[in-house]
Amino acid sequence: MLTPFSACSFRASAFDCTRSKGRGAAGELSQGMQVYLPIAEMSVDAFVVVGIGLAVGLLSGLFGVGGGFLMTPLLIFIDIPSSVAVATSANQTMGTSVSGLIAHWRRGNVDLRMGVVLTAGGLAGSALGVQAFALVRQLGQLDLVVAVFYVVVLGIVGGLMVAESVRAILRRRRQLRRRLHEHFWMHGLPLKVRFRQSRLYISVIPPALIGFGIGLLSAMMGVGGGFVLVPAMIYLIGMPTGVVIGTSLFQVVFVTAAVTVLQAVSTQSVDIVLSLLLMVGAVAGAQFGAALGSRLRGEETRGLLGLLVLAVAVELLVGLVRRPEALYSLGPLL
């Protein structure tokens, strides 16, 4: 799954990874099913793109996250410019999350009030994030900033997830149980609100701040943020696991929708053809993933997801530190 990264890693900008250098126009014309992406202004093999969607969808169904954190690097790997990869990935994550949200809504697994608080924070965060994104792109450091964001966020989250699941597995062995409520500084904050479905009576400040952070990540990384949001809701807010996925999907849908519109307006880099191709694969893949996921235990699944997240982070870090194969890169004059 991850080996393709090493061939020409994340440090590459749109032009670094040279495509087939060989001549032979006929060979170029006949390979796969080429589809021209109107915004990325390049053609890609439709099967490769649908395949990426399928693979990411499978993982997202398996782990209950959007999978944007894998989608963006994979798109950059197939030479999609970083800006288009990030913006389109947000659009695609939204589409995939809508099907998840509908399913959870039907089962009543969405805490609407909590969702609204998270979304409010998320919208503010994404507005700021899109501005920062445009600024960084103008400075020519987009690839670096996206990569650093990925390494830091994925490294921390992956590490925490692995540690937590190891602890959970050990705890299970020792037959210990966690306390239902853990009180700490967070519960002293003002603006307390009752979140009935989450069975919580807490201040709106922590969820709003968490939402803000996720919105920022969403704009800068093209991710839904589920992989950060889900653990944050469980461990920081203390929500019951049953409503966490549905509520996080609620927030992800609205924030990625906002990011899509903001990116379309400020950078014009949302490619709907690419996003539709990805969604075809991802929606189908998510169903298989969900079926597969029901056979695994929660702790093991989280541990595996943590390992996957860590592996991506390490791979991207290596790309930042290792001497690049191409010292020069080409970009349009903005």
Partner: protein
């Protein structure tokens, strides 16, 4: 449109005939050429296009010993070339150079390596060949490594090329060249230039226009994305929501 082009071609042929029949002065040279297509449409299925330039050279300069050079040049597209530097163990984009007049596409095909056909001076004057392309870097101190990198990167994308054997001669006077336009070509006016060279001197030239246009759905999508970004963004959101909803309906058990 088509009729007009044909009649123009017919007129050229007529002229050529006149020239070859009449007892002409030695200076009269004729270079006739045509393209396999005058318009390249970038559609949703665009995977590059092959352009064939063909023609004939008549007159005293043509024949054995003469060379043909064909160039195809795309509209200018300003680019930035950045060099990565290592800061605190991390490789990041450092110094950069902006090239205001870099052509988005440049292809040269000739009967022999162009350096053996024309002198460096002549090539510079004619702005012929990758080594002589005027790219107008913006920086005050000219660092040739940026220019070199630009040419290498663009060559890797097949946007810049030089093909020393690319012009094929059939007999003495008929020639043809194949030029490949990769999927990354940008729309706009392109120009094909054909030169007839003998003894280091350009004897005749011919210019032919080529247009690369976005066409069909992809052109519409690009236009809306840039002209009405807000509407485009909202449409992208609605489309994603519809696709997600459809997925949940299709896979509901």
């Amino acid at each position: 449109m088509r009729a007009c082009r044909l009649s123009a071609r017919a007129r050229h042929l007529w002229l050529a005939l006149l020239v070859s029949l009449a007892p002409v002065p030695a200076a009269a040279q004729t270079l006739l050429a045509e393209l396999s297509q005058r318009e390249v449409a970038v559609t949703t299925g665009f995977a590059g296009a092959e352009l064939i330039v063909f023609g004939t050279a008549t007159g005293d300069a043509a024949g054995p010993g003469a060379d043909i050079i064909v160039t195809l040049r795309g509209p200018n597209a300003p680019v930035v070339v950045r060099r990565k530097v290592r800061i605190a163990g991390i490789w990041l984009n450092g110094p950069s150079e902006q090239f205001e007049a870099a052509p988005s596409f440049y292809a040269l095909a000739s009967t022999r390596p162009v350096e053996t056909i024309l002198s460096a001076e002549e090539r510079r004057r004619l702005r012929l060949g990758l080594a002589s392309l005027p790219l107008s870097p913006r920086g005050k101190i000219e660092d040739p490594s940026f220019r070199q990198a630009l040419i290498e990167l663009k060559s890797g994308l097949r946007l810049y090329s030089e093909d020393p054997g690319g012009v094929r001669l059939v007999g003495d006077r008929l020639f043809s060249a194949r030029l490949f336009l990769p999927p990354a070509v940008i729309p706009g006016p392109y120009r094909v230039e054909i030169l007839l060279v003998r003894d280091g001197r350009v004897m005749a030239t011919r210019d032919l226009p080529l247009t690369v246009v976005r066409s069909g759905t992809s052109a519409e999508i690009w236009r809306i994305a840039h002209d009405q970004p807000l509407a485009y963004g909202i449409a992208a959101v609605l489309l994603a929501a519809a696709a997600g909803w459809l997925g949940s309906v299709l896979f509901r058990r």
